[in-house]
Amino acid sequence: MQTSRARLFKEYKEVQREKGADPDIQLVCDDSNIFKWTALIKGPSETPFEGGVFQLAFAIPEQYPLQPPQVRFLTKIFHPNVHFKTGEICLDILKNAWSPAWTLQSVCRAIIALMAHPEPDSPLNCDSGNLLRSGDVRGYQSMARMYTRLAAMPKKG
């Protein structure tokens, strides 16, 4: 556990030092618990998520970085590889392809890449996966855009 704490502290310092270096990601550590983090990521451009800001929750195991962090979307998102209700993410590097060389920051980047490149063949959100698999890209995009507007953008007064 000491190792994970030391490593997370390094990541924390790196995040503080590099603040604003990546305008798409804002990582914040819980005030009282270094094993709990949240992140705000911007939806990638030229995708239905463009313009949205999505919140992620990180729960880091005591064996980190030998075991991957648990990450889920707190913001509703319509994406084949994200569970619509729980926000659970299906991504190989968060499961069996995990490597301890990943950091929380690079995991965020991987999630942004997943948003731009959905994998409809391993869906957690079947409705979304089926739209893409049946070739209805427009249908998928309009649904995804609608949920981005509803959940990931500031409400217009």
């Binding site: 556990m1 190792t3 030391a6 490593r7 390094k10 990541e11 790196e14 030092r17 590099e18 270096a21 990546d22 005591e62 064996q63 970085p65 030998l66 075991q67 069996n96 490597s99 301890p100 060389a101 950091t103 690079s106 980047r109």
Partner: protein, 285 residues
């Protein structure tokens, strides 16, 4: 080769927007696993891609990877670049170095014997394999625990070595031993008091104390460890006899569980599925 490596690391830095000025010279790259600068004595390199790690960190990671397979793997994919590597170069002092083959990280460690491996495998199976072999209720009811078990130390040591995959566990073992013994001795003193606690209450207390003592070291495996410890105490057997009973049960369920010569790919998984069918038979015995 050198050029290729440089361009690779550069492209990675660009791709990830990592432009930390302190990591510009290759010697000051921190270990990718702990993110700390590697102490010189700990410096080690993978044999194909030459990426540098702390020896401790990369060996730990190799063990994690190995524990996912029933057989020790012969190669390791670099955590940084995914190149397949076969050994870790370590202890380079200008003229000589040590070379540790991935396939031997487990097998050549003197302390991690076949018995350790079998104990660790036990934790990957469903509990209850021995629940009808020893009478746990009677152990508490008839206060068998008042007799101290002289084999408890060796059992604890092997168990904790297997679970933590670490050789030097003496401090942890003594901590657990102290917890167990003080818990049982406290019961001993209470025996003279007019009011005796119910056996169930005593059992619950014992389990809670041991659980609290073990949790920081064994984390997710604590619950099972406490049950296994109780089982061993209730058995009243020495290490050898206990193993005999345990392995006999294992072999009933899966004849190949402890014969490591034979390649068993998903031994533990097969075992779990067989359990479901054997449950009734066991109850009838």
């Amino acid at each position: 080769m050198e050029e290729q490596r440089n361009s690779m690391s550069k492209s990675r830095e660009q791709a990830e927007g990592e432009s930390s000025p302190s990591s510009s010279s290759s010697s000051s790259h921190p270990c990718p696993i702990c993110l700390s600068p590697t102490p010189q004595l700990q410096e080690s390199y993978l044999d194909r891609c030459f990426h540098k790690f702390c020896y401790k960190c990369i060996v730990q990671w190799t063990k994690v990877v190995a524990s996912r397979h029933s057989e020790a793997p012969s190669s390791l994919f670099c955590p940084f670049c995914k190149t397949e590597n076969f050994s870790i170069i370590h202890g380079y002092d200008g003229s000589s170095f040590e070379r540790h083959y991935v396939s031997q990280i487990f097998s050549d460690s003197v302390f991690f014997t076949e018995a350790h491996r079998y104990r660790l495998q036990c934790y990957y199976t469903e509990p209850g394999i021995l629940s009808d072999a020893f009478d746990i209720k009677r152990f508490w009811k008839s206060r068998k625990y008042l007799q101290s078990n002289p084999w408890l130390y060796s059992w604890l040591k092997r168990e904790i070595q297997a679970l933590m995959q670490e050789e030097d566990v003496d401090v942890v073992v003594h901590h657990m031993l102290g917890t167990i013994e003080s818990s049982l001795r406290r019961d001993d003193q209470k025996l003279k008091a007019p009011e005796l606690k119910a056996p169930e209450e005593r059992q619950r207390e014992f389990k809670m104390l041991l659980h609290d003592a073990a949790r920081p070291f064994l984390t997710g495996r604590t619950d099972r460890f406490v049950d296994e410890a109780e089982l061993f105490l209730a058995s009243g057997l020495n290490l050898e006899a206990y193993d005999n009973v345990y392995r006999q049960r294992f072999d009933q369920k899966n004849p190949r569980i402890d014969s490591l010569e034979e390649p068993t790919n998903d031994g533990a998984v097969i075992l779990q599925s067989l359990f479901v069918f054997d449950e009734d038979q066991d109850g009838a015995e």
